[in-house]
């Protein structure tokens, strides 16, 4: 059955999962957005932990490299970075591969998205985690050192859990940023939520149906996150007195 012209379809039907609805496309976009946000955030977290420890305890060369990385990434707009990495980077990579006699490769947009946003996240998280580590009272680490705890065990068992309590509000902000930054990937044609919304509304001209729907979906991500983060924060601050009492 052919769909009637969009102007004759109700908003609910447009958003629905039926033949004439765009529901599946929107949910697919939402899923992609969440996957990219999760992937980028996790990658950023790994970079952030390594970067923070490197900046604090690394040698002079590592410190300089990390300083260059955080400065550059935080200075350039994410959109520009995405374009650079997607077009320039994959282009350069393929040039190199071809010159070495390999075949051209296609980097999937989802991997690009995760890597680009992960690098951005990594720069910001490095600073947030570094601040969190600096706020750990030195006595907490001295106690571990005095008992002969090896440095890696100390980082894992003492520094990171104590850092978490300090860094969580900042890390939570960055998670919300990560969910929204996924929208930037629309420019490279990746069908995340914003791109799916824009396609749907362009085809149906029902802008006032799809954009508020996308807004609601972003809001749901954000509210769910806030709820979860609250629980994590409560757990990370176990053993600490409430500053309000």
């Amino acid at each position: 059955m052919a769909c009637p012209p969009p102007s004759q379809i109700s908003a609910l039907e447009l958003l629905g999962f039926g033949e004439c609805g765009w529901g599946i496309s929107l949910v697919w976009g939402l899923g992609n957005s969440i996957v990219i946000a999760l992937g980028a955030y996790s990658l950023g977290f790994l970079i952030g932990i390594g970067g923070a420890f490197g900046k604090l305890y690394g040698g002079p060369i590592l410190k300089d490299l990390l300083a260059a990385y955080t400065t550059l990434v935080r200075a350039v707009p994410e959109l520009v970075l995405i374009l650079i990495l997607f077009y320039a980077f994959t282009g350069a990579l393929n040039e190199i591969l071809l010159s070495w006699g390999y075949d051209r490769i296609e980097i999937s947009p989802i991997v690009t998205g995760i890597v680009v946003l992960g690098l951005v996240q990594g720069a910001y998280q490095t600073e947030v985690i570094r601040g969190g580590i600096l706020a750990v009272p030195v006595g907490q680490l001295e106690a571990a050192r005095a008992m002969g705890m090896p440095s890696l065990t100390m980082a894992r068992r003492i520094t990171l859990p104590q850092m978490a309590a300090n860094a969580l509000p900042g890390l939570a902000n960055l998670w919300l940023n990560a969910t929204k930054d996924t929208a930037l990937l629309a420019v490279i044609g990746f069908s995340e939520l914003t791109r799916a919304t824009s396609s749907a509304s362009a085809s149906t001209k029902a802008f006032f149906v799809f954009y508020p729907a996308a807004m609601a979906l972003y809001l749901i991500i954000s509210l769910t996150s806030t709820l979860l983060i609250g629980r994590i924060e409560k757990w990370a601050r176990r053993g600490q007195r409430d500053v309000r009492t």
């Binding site: 006595g139 907490q140 050192r145 005095a146 008992m147 705890m149 090896p150 309590a165 053993g239």
Partner: protein, 322 residues
């Protein structure tokens, strides 16, 4: 009155310290006068800490010379010609110390005299600028500029020293029990159940059996410090280092911590104690070192140092701290 310390604990009748079983010192059910007031926890010293050395406790009466338990005991900690500078400021100008097993060495001195720095150099929380440190007969490998050169050796030697800090430094994200088993389980690889059983014994020993699930931030300073002592003991250390263990405490909480430390001394534990509690140092130490401006101004057995100080500076110092 030789023992104790603070007005609120003065109700505890002192016992002559020599040749008494430790259990009667603080806890004798037949004698009401030695039972602490109900508000104070009772530390039963009848049960020694598992693994504690069982040395004769009449250390002081048997050491006319250097205040040591006797030259026959092996050396637990030796510090030789230790120097330490912060930038251009030389805090320690060549100080030495020998603690044989069972010795209690007290380091006293004014603010800025270098006493805490000296103690912290023993386990390399401060990196010495020169000199030698020997722990349990083993020299700590050092580079020329004083930094330790063998990380594994340092970790191993640190595990044999129990450190107690002025500010307790219990890990705030762990309960008291978790604090006690952290290093035994995750570094020394002792089975968790075994470590927990031992930790509970130690907590009972310092009067904190009911606090095992509490987080440090919700305990009094005295309780935190007793837990910190238990945490150090959980490593089964060969020697204890106390860095002004009562200086951060409210006056009425000092007594309970000193009682625990005294119990350890009576057990024959080797310890080095940096303290401001002169009466306590006199009571518990076998050897006292008076540090002034980074050098040892005077040292000797406590009765000599406190009873008949030779140096004018020490006389002056004892007058001020009263």
């Amino acid at each position: 009155m030789r023992f104790l310390i603070r007005p609120n604990t003065a109700a505890i009748k002192p016992q002559p310290p020599s040749n008494q079983a430790p259990s009667t010192l603080l806890h004798n059910p037949d004698d009401k006068s030695v039972t602490p007031p109900a508000s104070l926890p009772i530390y039963s010293l009848a049960k020694p800490i598992p693994g504690a050395p069982n040395l004769p406790k009449q250390r002081r009466d048997h050491m006319p010379d250097q205040g040591s338990t006797g030259a026959s005991q092996p050396i637990a900690i030796r510090v030789s010609a230790l120097r330490k500078s912060f930038g251009t400021h030389e805090v320690l100008k060549g100080v030495s110390l020998t603690a044989r097993e069972g010795d209690v060495v007290a380091i006293i001195g004014g603010s800025g005299s270098g006493k805490s720095t000296m103690l912290r150099c023993v386990n390399f929380l401060e990196t010495p600028s020169g000199g030698e440190i020997e722990i349990g007969g083993e020299k700590v490998a050092m580079r020329a500029e004083g930094t330790p050169s063998d990380r594994r050796q340092l970790e191993r030697l640190r595990q044999s020293l129990g450190m107690v800090f002025q500010n307790f430094n219990l890990w705030t994200h762990k309960t008291v029990l978790e604090n006690l088993i952290e290093v035994p389980v995750h570094v020394l690889k002792i089975p968790k159940a075994e470590a927990e059983a031992r930790a509970r014994q130690l907590l009972a020993r310092v009067g904190l059996a009911e606090k095992e699930g509490a987080y440090p931030a919700f305990m009094s300073g005295g309780q935190q410090q007793r837990a910190a002592i238990a945490r150090a003991l959980a490593m089964n250390p060969k020697a204890m280092l106390f860095d002004e263990p009562t200086s951060a405490l409210d006056p009425e909480l000092v007594g309970e911590v000193l009682q625990v430390i005294k119990g350890l001394a009576d057990e024959g534990r080797t310890m080095i104690l940096v303290t401001h509690e002169m009466k306590f140092a006199r009571e518990v130490a076998s050897h006292v070192i008076y540090l002034h401006n980074g050098i040892i101004e005077e040292e000797g057995p406590p009765d000599q140092l406190f009873g008949a100080p030779k140096s004018d500076r020490l006389k002056q110092f004892l007058k001020t701290v009263g």
